[in-house]
C-alpha cells in the first residue's frame, strides 16, 4: 500500500501547469466572448464539480463563482459537507436548493401520487436518477438568470465517453473545462490544485442511493477504464493491440458498446434537412462571433 491518494496510470499523466493555464484562459475566453462575468456551478461534493469550482475560482476569482448545492433527501450528508468544505475553502458565494420537493412532487412519496400520476410509479432508480439530474439542470439554469452567470459543465471525459451521464441533465452546460480529462486526470489536476484530500480519496458516486459507487455499478475501476479508453480512442489501438496491452477482450468489447451506445448523448440532435441552409449541416458559424455576446 502506498499513501498516494489515487492511482494515476503513467500514460495518462498530464502536465498540470499547462492544463491549468489552458483551462483558465478557456474559462475567461468563454465568458468574455459570451458577454458574461459570472458563473454558476452545481457542487455535488464530488471531485469533478469541486475541481471545476477550483478552476473557475483560479481563472476569474471566487467572487465571480456562485456554487449551488442541490441535495435530494436520499443524498449522503457527507456529500453536502464536502461541498460546503469547497465553498469555505474558495470563499465563493453559495446557496442550498433542495430538490426533494421537485422530484417527489413528480413521482410522489409515501404512497401519495405525484404529478406523474398513480400509474407512473413505482419509478426505477434510473428514472429517478435521470429526473433528479434534470431538476438540478433546471435549477442551475434558473439561477444562471438570477446571477447573470453561465452554467459551467462538470462532466469528465470518462463518463462522457461511456455515457454515464443524463442527457439534458448533468451534461447540460454553457461550456465545459474538464470534458477532455479522464477521471484519473481529474484526480491528478485536483491534487495539483489543492482540492481537499477527502474529496480526492473518496469513491466516486452518483449519490442516488446510499452506498452507491460508480465503480461498483459499472463493474470497473477508473484507472483501468481510463487506460482502456485512452488506448482505444485517443491512440486508435486495434483489438489485437488492446490484447497485447493486457486488456480483457470481453471488457474491451463491452466498453466499445457503451461508447457507441452513448454517441447520441455527445451530439446535437439531427435536424431533417429541408431548406437551403440548415443549422449544423451547411450553416456553420462559430458559437461566439461578432454580435453573439450578451449586451
Amino acid at each position: 500500500m502506498t499513501d498516494e491518494p489515487f492511482e494515476l496510470p503513467a500514460e495518462l499523466a498530464i502536465d498540470t501547469d499547462v492544463a491549468r493555464r489552458v483551462i483558465a484562459e478557456f474559462i475567461r475566453s468563454q465568458l468574455r466572448q459570451a458577454g458574461f462575468e459570472h458563473t454558476v456551478v452545481g457542487l455535488s461534493g464530488g471531485i469533478d464539480s469541486a475541481l471545476v469550482a477550483y478552476l473557475v475560482a483560479e481563472a476569474i476569482g471566487p467572487e465571480r463563482l456562485h456554487a449551488v448545492l442541490m441535495p435530494y433527501k436520499a443524498s449522503s450528508p457527507a456529500s453536502r459537507a464536502d461541498a460546503e468544505t469547497v465553498v469555505a475553502a474558495l470563499g465563493c458565494s453559495s446557496e442550498l436548493v433542495e430538490i426533494t420537493a421537485m422530484v417527489d412532487g413528480y413521482f410522489g412519496s409515501d404512497g401519495t401520487p405525484g404529478a406523474a400520476g398513480r400509474e407512473a410509479g413505482p419509478a426505477s432508480d434510473l428514472r429517478r436518477g435521470n429526473f433528479a439530474a434534470r431538476m438540478r439542470m433546471a435549477v442551475l439554469y434558473d439561477r444562471s438568470v438570477v446571477r447573470a452567470g453561465l452554467v459551467v459543465g462538470t462532466g469528465n471525459k470518462t463518463e462522457t465517453l461511456i455515457g454515464y451521464t443524463t442527457l439534458f441533465g448533468d451534461s447540460a452546460c454553457a461550456f465545459n473545462p474538464i470534458g477532455d480529462l479522464y477521471k484519473s486526470q481529474v484526480r491528478q489536476l485536483a491534487v495539483a490544485m489543492g482540492v481537499p484530500d477527502a474529496i480526492v480519496r473518496k469513491a466516486p458516486t452518483a449519490d442516488l442511493w446510499p452506498g452507491q459507487t460508480d465503480e461498483m455499478e459499472g463493474g470497473f475501476t477508473y484507472p483501468i477504464l481510463d487506460r482502456l479508453l485512452f488506448w482505444r480512442i485517443d491512440k486508435r489501438q486495434s483489438d489485437d493491440e488492446m490484447v497485447a496491452l493486457g486488456f480483457d477482450p470481453a471488457m474491451v468489447e463491452r466498453v466499445d458498446r457503451m461508447v457507441a451506445g452513448a454517441e447520441f448523448k455527445r451530439q446535437v440532435p439531427p435536424i431533417a434537412k429541408l431548406g437551403p441552409r440548415t443549422a449544423g449541416v451547411d450553416y456553420l458559424y462559430p458559437r461566439r462571433r461578432p454580435g453573439s455576446a450578451r449586451v
Binding site: 498530464i14 499547462v18 484562459e25 486495434s238 483489438d239 462559430p286 458559437r287
Partner: protein, 325 residues
C-alpha cells in the same frame, strides 16, 4: 571578401486575435506596428489570420478582403519604415477565398503568399472553407536577404522550406494558428504539439541553413487554445529566442545576418542539392501515379495507376478474423 556585419531586429507579435472582429484586429495591428517601430524593429511578424481569427467557418466570406481593399492600403500605410508579415482572408476577383499572408514593406503590399496546404483532418476543416494557393515564391526584401513565407501547415510538408531556400530565401517565416493538444506529461514542454513544432523548426533551419521565424498565436477560439511559443532559430538549428507559451506579447529578437553565410560556407547543403535529380524522380512518380508509366512497386498485373491487382479466378476467402487490418 569583406562582409558587412548586419543585424536585423525581428518583432514577433504573439497576439490573440478576436474571432471575426476585423476592425478591432486591424486597429490592434496598427498599434503594434507603431510599437514595433518605436522599439527599433525592422521586421514585424503577425500570426496566421491575425486580422480575422482562425475558427471562422462561414464567417470567412464575411471578413474576406480583396487585394485592392482600401483597408489593406490603409494598413500598408502603417508599415512605413518597416517590413511586416500580416495574415488575412483574401478574396480573389473570381471569389475564391484564401488564407493569405502579405509581405508589407515601407507602405506597400509587396507580396502575397496563399496557404498551399489546407489541413482537413482531425480538428481541422480548412478545405471546406478555403481554396488552396498554387504558387510559392521567395521574394527580395528591403531588409537585404530574400524572404520566404509559409502558413502553418505549409511547414508540415518537407518540400516547402526547401523550395523557399532554393529560390533564394535566407529568412523562412512561418505564421501559424496552431492549436495546442496532447498535454501528456512525457512531452518535453508538456504539450505534444509544441514538441513537434519545435523539432520541425530546428530541423528546417539546419537543413536549409536559413533563419526560421515562427510566429504562433495565443488565445482561444471555441474549443481550441493556441499555444504561442513563437521562435527565432539560427541557420545552425539553434534557437535564438523562444517566446512563452500562451502569453500575449510582442518580443523583439536581434539576429546577425552574416550567420547565414557562415553556415552555408561551412555546411554547403544547398550548394550540393540535386534539383535535376528531384525533378527527374518526381516526374517519374507523377507519371506512375497517373498510370502513364510502369510502377515497379505495383503488383505485376495491377491496372495502370493502381498498386494492387484484384484477386482473380476462384479463390478461397481466408479467415482473417475480426477487427481492422
Amino acid at each position: 571578401m569583406l562582409q558587412r556585419v548586419t543585424s536585423l531586429r525581428i518583432a514577433l507579435a504573439q497576439i490573440a486575435p478576436r474571432l471575426g472582429a476585423l476592425e478591432a484586429n486591424l486597429e490592434r495591428h496598427r498599434a503594434l506596428l507603431d510599437e514595433a517601430r518605436e522599439r527599433g524593429a525592422d521586421l514585424v511578424v503577425f500570426p496566421e489570420l491575425g486580422l480575422t481569427g482562425y475558427q471562422l467557418q462561414d464567417l470567412a466570406a464575411e471578413v474576406a478582403m480583396r487585394l485592392d481593399d482600401p483597408r489593406l492600403a490603409d494598413l500598408a500605410a502603417s508599415t512605413r519604415g518597416l517590413s511586416a508579415v500580416i495574415s488575412f482572408v483574401e478574396e480573389s476577383a473570381d471569389h475564391r477565398l484564401f488564407i493569405a499572408a502579405g509581405l508589407f514593406e515601407d507602405g506597400q503590399l509587396r507580396h502575397v503568399h496563399r496557404k498551399l496546404f489546407l489541413p482537413t483532418y482531425g480538428l481541422f476543416d480548412e478545405r471546406r472553407f478555403f481554396a488552396q494557393g498554387d504558387s510559392l515564391r521567395a521574394v527580395p526584401s528591403r531588409l537585404g536577404p530574400g524572404i520566404g513565407i509559409g502558413i502553418c501547415e505549409d511547414f508540415w510538408h518537407l518540400s516547402l522550406p526547401q523550395l523557399l531556400a532554393l529560390d533564394g530565401a535566407q529568412i523562412l517565416i512561418n505564421v501559424s494558428s496552431s492549436p495546442g493538444r496532447d498535454l501528456a506529461a512525457t512531452n518535453e514542454v508538456g504539450l505534444g504539439t509544441a514538441t513537434s513544432w519545435r523539432t520541425l523548426m530546428r530541423t528546417y533551419a539546419q537543413l536549409t541553413t536559413s533563419f526560421v521565424v515562427f510566429c504562433n498565436r495565443v488565445g482561444v477560439d471555441e474549443s481550441i487554445s493556441f499555444w504561442g511559443g513563437s521562435e527565432v532559430i539560427a541557420p545552425s538549428g539553434q534557437a535564438l529566442f523562444s517566446a512563452p507559451f500562451y502569453d500575449e506579447g510582442m518580443y523583439v529578437v536581434e539576429i546577425a545576418l552574416q550567420d547565414v553565410r557562415r553556415e552555408r560556407i561551412g555546411l554547403p547543403l544547398l550548394r550540393d542539392e540535386r534539383l535535376e535529380l528531384q525533378v527527374r524522380e518526381l516526374t517519374r512518380i507523377i507519371a506512375e501515379r497517373a498510370g502513364m508509366a510502369t510502377d515497379s512497386n505495383a503488383d505485376a498485373d495491377a491496372e495502370a495507376g493502381f498498386d494492387l491487382a484484384p484477386l482473380r479466378g476462384p479463390v478461397r476467402v481466408p479467415d482473417l478474423g475480426e477487427g481492422p487490418r
